[in-house]
Symmetry: C4
């Protein structure tokens, strides 16, 4: 029933005469559902936050759930967006207010295929202090590529903190630059990757690293972080595939 | 069976000749049960604490569970109180000792429709120190409206720490003033809102904020809290509805 | 089957001609089983530790599980001990090495009806530092009656840390004195009470208090602990009954 | 079906003319599966890490799962390795990249029968700081025998952090020396023991000790660690058997 709804949803652009992409790979949709459930299970997403993936048939589209809590997402909830973050089908489906985060980053970063926006708790203290995140262990080596902090006041002044427009999304994308993640002051983070498993794995281990770095700092000694060359070599092989298989199995069977 | 008991319970004032309110909306009672379960599930309430809602048909009444642990509350346990915190029906039902917290706040605050009293763990350290809670992220922006600390010694001297009388309830309500929450030194907190989802969401994110603020303070740098204008703008839109739907589904199906 | 075994177990002293107590109240045995499960569920006991209750028919006897992990205890595992901590029935049942903790405290403290020995994690840091536990909130007011630290080196020299003899049990009982609990340096704690729910509730809230006191200390401000008179008044009413009912229901149905 | 596969797997060396060990004890294989599940359940292993046991019929062989997440391991996934960490059967089964940790330690330490490699979170801060682990309570007394830190840069220069060769495995084994465990800077730890329950118990209580030692240090007072003689006496009796029985029951029935 839900699958049928999804097929209809994805077929509608054709029927209505829009220039539509071919339907996305079914496996990609399944992985996007799994990514939502995994991030909820691992405590990276609570009732809020969202995860998207670039359409595999059309790089000018992306897929993301309609406006519901990530733990509840099914394939029938996945909506197709253009890069201006308009819901193509179903038109008028209730959308996440901050979908511009996704569209604007996909525009600026051709290498990015998956994006997570979260309120990952251990990141909040780093986002509001001047203390930079540093890679404390190899599972979060990507932090060594730099994790800038987005201060929404610089581009938006005093706001309600949400990235609720294309210009705010562009400002966030500029702060992100070529980095794998950016903290959002008083809000959370955005994490990107060339695959869903990488964006999800980075989200999990960014949270872990923040917790462990805070604990290490409290020990009051000088710390040895990963060296830039270690970071480069770890990242050349990191795919989080073994964890992804475990997470997916656990998230989809509970 | 339990529903039948509830109907009888709510009908009894009529039969016994008291001026009784119309029965409350069934959805409101369901939401009150859900609020109890959610707050237990999220670790805000343990075996103790309570949550109430103002009667939707009569603002001089409120609804709250009889004396049991919040995780165990069902619709059949809901009792109707007047604002002096007398159990109207069933008369003599065992009541929470501290029900005066609820009645006295409803008297002073016409805008308040829901109240949570808890022993939320991360709040205890803030309640016994001079360190004020400050909003570290947008989900708990309401903290920027001020969270005073109630010192029961000022009005009650050396007590057994419980708000077990109307005068103590009034003293707490005065400390609360127009704020969304107040800490209770060595005890817990009271959290209020214009709806059950707001009182529940504030309770959850007050606990989260306390934990994250303590972590941020330990990083030893100067911190950027939400600005007053950011607080105003976030609060103008905040309803915690997406989280409420998720919490309710999880709490009522486990 | 297990109940039958228990009855036989308790009847055996009669058959073999020993002066035996009447069988304990069945409810007491059920509560002792529940206490084991609750303390495991709440993270106070892990694979180790034990809980006992004084025999309701004979104050010179106590009941405790044979040598197994608390989470696995059933009524059939309950053994009757004399105050020298000899297993009366079944003779030679494998016993906890540290059963002398229980027997020696029951000898010295007629008011004590239930005893918990645990490795409660948050207590370890307090046991090895000079920082005294203080009551941070009313649920753990009993801490205001004093929680001394037992240094086994003072009576036993360099040992394997276990209270594996009557003299070591007596030394611990002397350190405990009239207090509701004592920490054991590098080991854990012993907690006593006039009922099982009180010994269990104190065990749970001792752990909670230790965690919260450490967090409060880290905030770096001066702290307001419960006053001695507040402690007296809280303790006059505290029975942990509402929590006990919840814990018991949860522990026995999962 | 899986058991049949295992029997075939273990019989294959005979059929193909290799000098093969007799099949391992079935109980040993069951315990190895349990060890994987236990360490995942207790949060010592996440999607990564591995545990091995020396073959009971041939000390020049060891058993370990093929390349999957520990939580998913079954008896059918167990592979037999020689001490150069070649998979004997099935040849070419996908193996953990860091299997050299196991083979090289088994070569140097005849007393070691079981090895755990993990990313145990609370150990990371100690591995990257100069703060040595010290035994804070008797369950982790073995730490008093010394837990050195392996700095892969000293033998491998700037690497991708993995022990992916025999020489790196030998360097780690030399750092481990005669100790029960070694931290790996920015990576995790290796824990060894004369039995699976001891290697597993040490892994669990190493994590616990790290967490509690950090909390104790934060209390800011001088700390009393276990004395060398206490360590000796505790270790003479420690087998973690009661915990092992509980963990095994829980891990294999959930």
């Amino acid at each position: 029933m839900r699958r049928a709804f999804l097929l209809v949803l994805l077929a509608l652009p054709l029927l209505t005469g829009l220039a539509a992409a071919a339907p996305p790979d079914r496996q990609l949709v399944e992985d996007l559902v799994a990514a939502n459930r995994i991030l909820a299970m691992e405590g990276v997403l609570d009732g809020y936050g969202h995860v998207s993936v670039r359409h595999d048939q059309d790089p000018s589209r992306y897929l993301m759930s309609r406006y519901i809590a990530p733990a509840l997402v099914t394939a029938a909830d996945i909506v197709e967006y253009d890069l201006d973050s308009n819901a193509l089908e179903p038109k008028g489906a209730p959308s996440y207010t901050e979908r511009f985060i996704h569209g604007e980053i996909y525009k600026m970063r051709a290498d990015v295929k998956a994006i997570v926006h979260n309120h990952s708790p251990a990141l909040i203290p780093f986002g509001i202090s001047g203390v930079p995140l540093r890679p404390v262990f190899h599972m979060s080596a990507f932090i060594g590529q730099g994790v800038p902090v987005f201060e929404i006041r610089e581009s938006g002044g005093m706001t309600d903190m949400l990235v609720r427009s294309a210009p705010l999304g562009q400002a966030l994308a500029r702060t992100l630059g070529n980095h794998p993640a950016a903290l959002m002051r008083g809000h959370g983070a955005v994490v990107v990757g060339p695959t869903l498993p990488l964006a999800v794995g980075r989200s999990v281990y960014l949270e872990t690293n923040a917790r462990l770095q805070a604990q290490a700092a409290a020990l009051g000694s000088s710390l040895t972080f990963l060296d830039a060359e270690e970071v480069r070599k770890v990242e050349a092989r990191q795919d989080y595939k073994r964890a992804w298989e475990l997470w997916k199995r656990k998230a989809m069977t509970k």
